[in-house]
């Protein structure tokens, strides 16, 4: 039986946990060869092992900090040593630090933008070179509902995710001539480590703002990611798709 991503090679950042991990599993299940990035090498190797065992496919690891352009370059040089083709890039790695504006430190702004925005740009820059050569490819960025709607206490995180929206829409136009599609997913509240430490009252308050009345799962985001990178979405580019259960702040 043919699978949706048979013969495709996908590079996924922030793949070791949460949404990235669910995306890696869903792509591998659909026949993709997955190339996994995060900072922690042990986590990545454990995931690669799990994926190989569960989906009987190839999985490789590229531990590096995507906020460091030199490290990203080295990861893609390593990728290039054995691969000439790259079909899918998922810019998923991201960090979230909450604070009211008066308590935002310069290093907090830098860290957030370096990972959430600059890292995505570095990866897209290098991945798109493979895709331009092939004249095909898909880049999927993970934004956030906070970047679309805004949220108190998340001005810096929200700004970094709004940047992802602008990046997605502009890059979609720039790369369309090469048949490279660029889209983003804008998740609402998704059950991952990112939400750890959220006080119970805040959690309940957030759920009361979700039309479907519950927090989403990483797999629910992964299923939309799978659709967007597959041929089923061949006429979709420059879009930001909300996966948020009807959340409103």
């Amino acid at each position: 039986m043919t699978k949706q991503l048979d013969g495709r090679k996908a590079f996924i950042t922030g793949a070791s946990k949460g949404i990235g991990k669910a995306i890696a599993h869903s792509f591998a299940e659909q026949g993709a060869e997955v190339h996994l990035n995060a900072r922690n090498k042990n986590d990545l190797e454990a995931l690669a092992e799990e994926i190989r065992g569960r989906h009987n496919c190839k999985a490789y690891v590229y531990p590096c900090d995507i906020s460091n352009p030199e490290d990203v370059k080295q990861a893609f040089v390593n990728y290039r040593a054995t691969n000439r083709q790259l079909d899918i890039l998922v810019n998923n790695a991201g960090i979230m630090q909450n604070s009211l504006l008066g308590m935002v430190l310069p290093e907090h702004i830098l860290q957030t933008f370096s990972t959430n925005v600059f890292g995505s740009v570095y990866c897209a820059q290098l991945a798109s070179r493979f895709m331009m050569r092939q004249r095909s490819g898909v880049i999927l960025n993970i934004g956030s509902i906070v970047g679309e709607e805004g949220r108190s206490g998340q001005s810096v995180y929200g700004a970094s995710k709004s940047a992802i929206t602008g990046f997605t829409k502009s890059l979609a136009k720039e790369l369309a001539g090469f048949d490279i599609r660029v889209n983003a997913i804008s998740p609402g509240m998704i059950e991952t480590e990112l939400l750890e430490g959220l006080a119970e009252n805040k959690r309940l308050e957030a759920i009361s703002n979700i039309a479907l009345g519950r927090i989403g799962s990483a797999n629910e985001v992964a299923q939309v990611a799978l659709f967007l990178v597959s041929d089923a979405a061949s006429y979709i580019t420059g879009q930001v798709i909300g996966v948020d259960g009807g959340m409103a702040f």
Partner: protein
């Protein structure tokens, strides 16, 4: 094929022009077919042909064929 003609072939194919239009003196943006989009196609073609991955600074600096030779030499490519 000499090294020079190999480089010229890569340039000609990437820019979609005849090989006799390529010379060391040819400069970025001096002909319609070497615009910014074609420049990215050219970079991809050079990387493929010479098995290198260029730095962003070098992509920006590659302002002529002769400059491309200089830059490729930094990556131990003999042109």
């Amino acid at each position: 094929m000499t090294q020079n003609s190999r480089l010229y072939t890569v340039f000609a194919e990437a820019l979609g022009v005849q090989i006799d239009q390529i010379s060391d003196e040819l400069k970025y943006n001096s002909i319609p077919s070497w615009d910014s989009t074609a420049h990215m196609v050219l970079i991809a073609a050079l990387e493929d042909a010479y098995d290198v991955m260029l730095d962003t600074d070098d992509i920006i600096d590659m302002s002529s064929v002769v400059k491309a030779k200089e830059i490729l030499a930094k990556y131990d490519v003999v042109v």
